[in-house]
Each structure stands twice: as C-alpha cells, then as structure tokens.
C-alpha cells in the first residue's frame, strides 16, 4: 500500500523551476532513495512535502489524504518527520531535552492538552531511554546538544526525528561528512528503523549508502525525474550517467 503519493509536483521560485512535474509513490515499509546532482531539486522536494514550502502545483497524499498546504507541525501530527542536511539541533537544550521536545503523546489513547505540555509520563521516559540507546548517547543524556561531536549530533538528530513516532522519515543527506565506519553504523540504524515499520525516504550523495539500502530509487535532474527503479537498473541507466558525469 502506498504511504506517500506525489502527483505532478511543481515548485517555482520566481522564474526558477526547482521542481517540475514530479510523480512518485512510496510503499509502506520500504526505503526509497532520491538522488541527483547538486541543485537538482531534492531538498526542495522534501521541503515541499514537509510543509516548509507551499507547492506551486500538484498534490501530495499521505495515506490517501491530501496534505497540500499543511503547516510543518500539522505534517508531524500526520506522521511525517525529518532530519536536516545542515544539522538543526536545539543547541541550548540537553540531549535528553531535545528528545523530550520532539516527543509526542499518543493523543488518541491517553494524552490531554495538559499532560502533553506539563505532564510526566512513563511512556515518555521509556521512549527517550530507548532512543538514547538506539543512538548510542546514553552517557551524554545531560550534555548540551551544542557540546556533542559532529557524529553524535547527527545521531541525536536522527533520534529526535524518531521521537515524534513518525510513520515516514525523511533523511536529508544523513551521511554527509561521515567516515566509512560511521556510514556503516548509520546503515544499521536505517535498517532498524525499517524493521520497526517506519518508511524511509533517503536523500543522499553517498552512493554506497543509497545503493545498499534502498529498495527503489528515483533520480532527479533539473527538477524532473530522469530515471526510477531498483538500484541496479538506475546505476546502469544512460540518462543517469549523463546527468552525473556529462556525455
């Protein structure tokens, strides 16, 4: 079943068409890769789906419900979450508080407005400690996020994205600036998230990672999809090789 469906998505900035008639569909539980040269519209695509930009044209469906024009926080309520290409942690909050801010009560089951903002809850404590061990930050729970190393910050950002209990996570170049070992750890974490039933949308430059983890890949160039399919067929596609290496 498709969790996200994007239909003829367009985004113009003034006269520049950053995204131009993009169509794709993501199935629940899969890892979907979006790649393309610099400036091909990958980040814009994520930003539009997350509600940071309004689409100029086209529609976005999450679980069959149209979410065009939703504010970012409404998209989070619908089960979307993301990380950022340039890390955006709350530097003056501790690691633990970063996760707490993003945590969301299961409103349907137990949460009231009051408990959401003021309350203590066991499920929260449990989720946060699970996320700390998921990201290997147990010993740093009370350190300020701005004092973490680069790798730790990336791990915390991923954990924070999971804290809002999303169904679909966008990872915007999660491996940028990582060494081989760290990329391997990241890959394991991505698989663990998939095993929890979270659908993953991966935007990445590190080809090793994308080709290894993705079920399906779409390649963007100049805001248009030039190729899609499984990693192998995309790699062998002439149009893709031209986009990356020139003719």
């Amino acid at each position: 079943m498709s969790i996200l469906k994007v239909d003829n998505l367009c985004k113009n900035f003034g006269g520049v068409q950053a995204v131009n008639g993009l169509n794709f569909e993501i199935n629940e539980g899969e890892i979907f890769g979006l790649i393309g040269p610099n400036g091909s519209g990958k980040s814009t695509t994520i930003n539009v789906i997350c509600g940071l930009y309004q689409p100029s044209e086209g529609s976005i469906f999450l679980n069959g419900k149209k979410i065009n024009g939703f504010k970012p926080n409404q998209c989070v309520d619908m089960g979307i979450s993301r990380t950022f290409q340039n890390i955006r942690l709350f530097g003056d909050l501790t690691v633990w508080q970063n996760l707490w801010v993003a945590w969301k009560d299961d409103r349907k089951n137990q949460g009231s407005w009051f408990s959401n903002w003021f309350g203590k809850s066991e499920s929260r404590e449990k989720l946060i400690s699970e996320l700390l061990s998921f990201s290997g930050l147990e010993t740093r729970a009370n350190d300020l996020a701005s004092n973490l190393s680069f790798g730790e910050q990336r791990r915390l950002e991923l954990a924070r994205a999971v804290a809002s209990k999303p169904k679909l996570i966008f990872l915007d170049e999660p491996a940028a600036g990582m060494n081989k070992e760290e990329v391997k750890e990241l890959r394991d974490r991505i698989f663990r998230l998939r095993d929890l039933g979270i659908t993953i949308f991966l935007v990445e430059h590190v080809m090793d990672l994308v080709m290894n983890v993705s079920n399906r890949i779409t390649v963007l160039n100049f805001g248009k999809a030039i190729s899609e399919g499984d990693p192998e067929s995309v790699q062998n596609d002439k149009a893709v090789q031209e986009a990356y290496f020139g003719q």
């Binding site: 504010k71 926080n73 989070v76 993301r82 003056d92 801010v101 903002w117």
Partner: protein
C-alpha cells in the same frame, strides 16, 4: 545637604528592592525578543493596563485587596496576547520593522485608552496593607540601614514570579518548546511544535510578569497613572539592552542594577537629573558593550 556613605548604601538598597519590578519588565521584553527576535514596544503599556484591569475589576466587584494582585497579572496576560494577535501574528515574520511599528501603535493605543477612561488623572492604588507599615532596621557597626516592608514584599513577589517562570521554561515541555522555537524555528516546527501556539504562550507569560510588575510598581507608590507607561517602557528597554537582548539572567541583574543606580542618582542629583544618568549608563553600554552583560552573538544558519 550633607550626604554620607550610609545614605548612599540606603538609597542603593531601596533602589535594588524596587528594581526588581524593572527586572520583571526587562524579563518580559527579553522573553519576547528571545522567542521572536522582535521588540514588543507595547509591552509596558499592556503591563500597566493589566494593573488597571486588576484595579478596575476589584473596585467594580468590591473584591478584597489581594484580588488586584491576582486579576492584574491575568489582565496583563490577556492584553499581551491581544497585542500579539494585533501586532505580530499576521505580519510577515521576516519583517521586523513592521512589527516594531505596529507595537508602537499598540503602546499609544493602550496608553490613550487608559487616559480616556481615567480622564488622564492618576488613581489611588491600594498600598500593600501591613507590608506598607512594616519597617526593619539593621544596625551595621554604628549606622542604621532601613528596609521598607512594602519594597521587601515587591522584591519577594518578583523573585517568586521569576522562579515560577524559570520552572516553566526549564522544567516543562512547554518551556522547552518555546526555547526550541527561539533556537531553531524550522526544526521546532518539524518536531510538531506550532510556532503561533508557543509565541502566544510566550506573550501570555510575559504579560503575566508585566501585570505583576505593574501592580507592584503602582502599589509601592500608591498611585497608578497613564504617565507610568512611557518611563516603564524606556526603563524596560534600558534593562533589556544592558542585560543583553534575549538573556534572562541578564535582565534580572540589569533590572536590579538600574533600580539601584537610579536611586543613588536620585539621592545625589535630584529627580530632575536622575534619568539623564540612567540614559548615560545605557549610552556607555551601547558604546563599550553593545551586547550587554550576557547578550549572545547571533549565530544561526
């Protein structure tokens, strides 16, 4: 007049005690600036307005004295969130000048409404009951230092309000959310936080602090008048700048400092010259330490 050292110390003590209301007003400015990076010029007006609401409702319903100090802060909070809706909520978020001008409009609007409703004349504000009569003296070698009971109450109430604010900001998810928004607005939204919601909450918190400050300031002099609005706005801005825009501990320290020095200037140079030196202090800070005590360099991608 022969001014001795003990007089200066006495003036400093009185000033620091009264300065806690400046600290509250400075805190309100700094809270809002921290959340939105915008100055809310109507803030002191909504604070005094809150004190008027407290006075008015208490007199109309003939409630006891302490009701003013409960209704005043509520009135301050309501006026403050009204200012948010009128002057900030619907203006483009990247246009700082528009919000500044709109809130200056709000300042004069509230000021004029108060003047109109009270015919521009000051009203008696109830003093602090037994606290006003209390007076403590401490012997210090062979000199006597006095502490006015009402000013001690003002200081105590201000610090209680600050402690509650700290608890909210640092120990509840609501406070964390407002701080998260001020640090990374985009990421905060993508953690499911509504910016408008947290901004409203920040304005309410600031307004409640302002209402408390307005009531305390009026109670310690025994009158309330629309003439309080502009000086309090200016003093609040001075405190905020000296403390460092956006810095909470800076606002508290600067509030006490400005209150204390103001009182010493008053003693040494009289009421006509007092504010000259306060603004000179602001000028010195702007030249030599433009970020104030704790103002952070703005650093954001």
């Amino acid at each position: 007049m022969n001014i001795e050292f003990i007089d200066i110390v006495q003036a400093l003590i009185d000033g620091i005690l009264y300065g806690s209301t400046y600290a509250l007003i400075g805190l309100g400015f700094t809270l809002i600036f921290g959340a939105m990076e915008k100055l809310n010029m109507a803030y002191a007006a909504s604070s005094i307005g809150g004190a008027y609401v407290g006075l008015g409702v208490s007199v109309l319903l003939s409630l006891p004295l302490y009701a003013i100090f409960l209704i005043g802060p509520i009135g301050g909070g309501l006026l403050s969130v009204l200012v948010y809706i009128c002057c900030f909520r619907y203006l483009p978020s990247n246009n700082h000048l528009a919000a500044l001008m709109a809130s200056i409009g709000g300042l004069f609007f509230i000021d004029e409404i108060i003047s109109h409703e009270t015919d521009g004349s000051p009203l008696d504000f109830p003093e602090l009951g037994i606290f006003s009569e209390a007076y403590f003296e401490i012997e210090f070698s062979d000199m006597f230092l006095g502490f006015r009971g009402d000013l001690i109450f003002v200081m105590f109430a201000s610090f209680l309000a600050m402690l509650m604010l700290m608890y909210l900001l640092y120990r509840t998810r609501l406070g964390l959310a407002t701080r998260a928004v001020s640090q990374q607005p985009i990421a905060a939204q993508l953690c499911g936080i509504s910016i408008h919601q947290t901004n409203s909450v920040t304005f309410i918190l600031a307004g409640v602090l302002g209402g408390i400050a307005g009531c305390l300031a009026a109670a310690s002099v025994g009158v309330i008048s629309p003439l309080l609005v502009l000086p309090l706005t200016v003093k609040g801005l001075v405190v905020t700048v000296i403390g460092g825009l956006g810095s909470i501990r800076g606002a508290i320290i600067a509030g006490l400092l400005v209150g204390g020095l103001e009182s010493v200037f008053l003693l040494l140079r009289g009421v006509n010259e007092r504010d000259i030196y306060v603004f000179l202090l602001l000028f010195v800070f702007l030249v030599f330490r433009p970020n104030g005590f704790f103002g952070a360099e703005i650093d954001r991608d």
